[in-house]
């Protein structure tokens, strides 16, 4: 039990642990939420480091584990990490592009106790899919892999990041999901951070496109009679007037660890100009409860107006700190999605700019482009 008077009394333990095992990836999707700075693969944590993180997080009460990246399958120790996580009692979610998930590896992951696999698709049309992914035959590989995932008895979530490039394809996407016997299907428009922000004009569908797609999803849901996949449709927050309750609040339930060991309250937070504690230097418990970083936007005391006196702050926590920084220049400001924010016009004009954009050429998420952007910034 926590000692009385310690911070642990008023702070919830993390329930969700996301390990971004690597930023290496065989695909180059322009909607990727990874930071533009993809770092150096030589800085990735060792197997022992990751196992230590699992032990520490589980001891604190974390129970949902996401294994993502980049492409987590590029870590040869993925099976070792899964086995340890399962032994500790985590519910283990593998979030993958599917590229590299051979039958042999599927079996090894099943044996290690992996609970669930989420496979990303870029479209239901092979050519569009492979163009977005930047890899030939990616669609074919994914489709075959998805069948194998079900054959091995895994619950399967399919994830389609919805953009201008595929939104008018949404009926075919739902049909594909049904034929692959997905259990859940996420049809989520990109969140505009990292690479997706670089490509926002090219990616963000218009409000009209979003409404049409939403109606199509509702029509399919109505015809399902409880049979087939559960479709989850997520619209861009740029068309809202109240912000999302990002991560259910800073340092409230979610803890993410980047490939190089930086601990963050959200996997996009690397873009904030803050210094992040590293699991190589400190244990997770002190990082979660005591670090300056995790306490910085925790609770409500840090909020300026209009959040401070807002009666909805406990519902949305002032929205997303990254979005506040990217669009207003200060992470403590209200998320400009909120129409009480004096910066809300920036959200409106970004949506207008995207609607007017007819040039579909996107910047691919590649190591080369990462290096070019980072050099220009310095």
């Amino acid at each position: 039990m926590p000692k009385s008077g310690s911070a642990e009394n008023s702070i919830n333990p993390p329930l969700w642990l996301l390990l971004e095992l690597t930023y290496r990836c065989p695909l180059s999707c322009p909607y990727c939420a990874n930071p533009v700075d993809l770092g150096d693969p030589a800085d990735e944590l060792s197997t022992e480091d990751w196992l230590k993180v699992l032990e520490q997080a589980r001891a604190m009460g974390a129970v949902q584990l996401g294994l993502s990246g980049g492409e987590p399958l590029l870590r040869k120790d993925l099976e070792v990490i899964v086995a340890k996580a399962r032994e500790l009692g985590f519910y283990t979610n593998l979030i993958t592009s599917g590229i590299g998930l051979t039958n042999k590896r599927l079996k090894a992951l099943k044996d290690a106790g992996l609970d669930h696999i989420q496979v990303s698709f870029q479209s239901a049309d092979p050519d569009t899919n492979d163009a977005i992914a930047g890899k030939r035959k990616a669609f074919e590989t994914k489709q075959e892999l998805a069948r194998q995932v079900k054959a091995h008895g895994f619950p399967m979530v399919l994830n389609f990041v919805i953009s201008k490039q595929n939104i008018e394809n949404i009926d075919a996407i739902m049909q594909l999901s049904q034929s692959l016997e997905a259990d859940y299907v996420e049809l989520a428009t990109a969140q505009y951070y990292g690479w997706a922000l670089q490509n926002r004009d090219q990616l963000m569908p218009t409000l009209e496109q979003v409404r049409t797609a939403e109606a199509q999803v509702n029509a399919v849901r109505d015809s399902q009679n409880g049979v087939g996949p559960r479709f989850i449709f997520v619209t861009p927050d740029y068309y809202e007037t109240r912000p999302k309750a990002c991560m259910s609040g800073w340092g409230n339930i979610f803890l993410s660890v980047a490939p190089d060991g930086r601990a963050m309250p959200c996997h996009s937070a690397a873009l904030l100009p803050l210094s992040f504690p590293n699991v190589r230097d400190s244990n997770l418990k002190s990082i979660w409860y005591e670090s300056e970083l995790f306490n910085k936007y925790r609770g409500f005391d840090w909020m300026p107006e209009p959040c401070r006196s807002c009666d909805e702050k406990e519902k949305d926590f002032g929205g997303c700190r990254c979005q506040a920084l990217l669009l207003t220049g200060d992470a403590a400001n209200a998320d400009p999605v909120c129409d009480k924010s004096p910066h809300h016009h920036k959200i409106v004009s970004a949506a207008e700019s995207a609607a007017a954009c007819r040039n579909g050429e996107t910047l691919a998420r590649t190591v080369q482009n990462s290096q070019i952007i980072m050099q220009t910034r310095v």
Binding site: G61, V63, D115
Partner: protein, 88 residues
């Protein structure tokens, strides 16, 4: 409709687990968790695909003799759990 002579089990999309940190039974599923009330946890942990609902109720009644007749509460909860696809 829940049949008392039938045996149910937790649906394979879910994993039932006791969480000491939350002092509760939880249902875990892809990227989500449902925290169960004490009675819901006690009921679901008895579902093994072999015990019938009637047998289960008898066991619960023996463990909690001070409780009133449990049949209605248990079948009502199982009906909800079935509708939510937690059990099959």
């Amino acid at each position: 409709m829940i049949q008392e002579n039938q045996a149910y089990q937790v649906h394979k999309l879910f994993r039932l687990q006791y969480e000491p940190a939350q002092n509760a039974w939880v249902l875990l599923y892809p990227e989500g968790m449902i925290k169960l009330s004490e009675s819901a946890g006690e009921i679901l942990r008895l579902l093994d695909g072999e015990r019938t609902v009637a047998q289960m109720i008898a066991e619960l009644q023996a463990r909690f003799p001070q409780a009133d007749t449990l049949t209605e509460d248990v079948t009502e909860f199982l009906g909800e759990a079935h509708a939510k696809k937690w059990i099959c």
